[in-house]
């Protein structure tokens, strides 16, 4: 999947699909177990599970549906970045790098006399 974050977010937009995902996440489950726990029909559950699998959020092992770890760090980072840019943004980054450049410059000034006296 070229855009794992987009694929996962597209899949989780549907509330029934999200409920199924959260059930699988909390406990690896079989299709039959899921179908018994929710109000939608078994074919609908199968369809939603197929979409979750295609989105890379869920995989099947010996008939057991398991939530995949893989796209989750990227999803968290995606929202970290959006939040960061929206709240503090580039101004903070510029200031942060300006501080580290000033520290490097001070290091350079401190190191230079030592080299001369050595």
């Amino acid at each position: 999947m070229s855009d794992p974050v987009g694929a996962a977010l597209d899949a989780l937009g549907d509330p029934t699909r999200r409920e199924l995902y959260e059930r699988i996440l909390a406990r690896p489950s079989r299709i039959n177990g899921l179908a018994a726990a929710v109000t939608v029909t078994r074919p609908a559950v199968s369809h939603h599970v197929r979409v979750l699998k295609d989105a890379g959020l869920v995989r099947e092992e010996d008939g057991l549906l398991v939530a995949t770890v893989d796209p989750l760090p990227q999803l968290r980072t995606y929202f970290d970045r959006l939040w960061f840019e929206a709240s503090v943004g580039e101004g903070w980054l510029r200031e942060r790098f300006a501080v580290s450049r000033r520290l490097q410059a001070m290091d350079g000034e401190a190191a230079a006399p030592r080299r001369r006296t050595a």
Partner: protein, 103 residues
């Protein structure tokens, strides 16, 4: 799992709305700015901004749209908890237990 508003997920489940959000975090912009910048018809931009605003992700003020950073935190926390939970359920001993129990 942390309860994140259903509207939030629905609003984010669209590639155009995600592009608008990604563009808006850098700086607030008007629908016209966004339409030109992203080459999306203005009527679509207005519609999608409305959905983002209804979900509480964006604030519309004086024809400018701005992201509300706090609204991103519940969904960030959702995936944080999902990651923790997935890492636990993917650990071998628990999986073996689930398999034995034929869950």
């Amino acid at each position: 799992m942390a309860a994140a508003a259903p509207d939030l997920f629905r609003a984010l489940a669209d590639p155009v709305r995600r592009r608008l959000l990604e563009s808006l975090v850098a700086a607030p912009a008007s629908a016209g700015d966004l339409s030109r910048r992203l080459a999306i018809p203005r009527v679509n931009v207005s519609h999608h901004l409305g959905v983002l605003a209804a979900a509480g992700l964006v604030e519309l003020r004086q024809r400018q749209a701005a992201v509300k950073p706090g609204a991103l935190l519940p969904i960030r926390r959702y995936f944080d908890e999902a990651l923790t939970t997935a890492a636990i359920t993917n650990s071998t001993p628990l999986r073996a237990v689930s398999r034995q129990a034929r869950l």
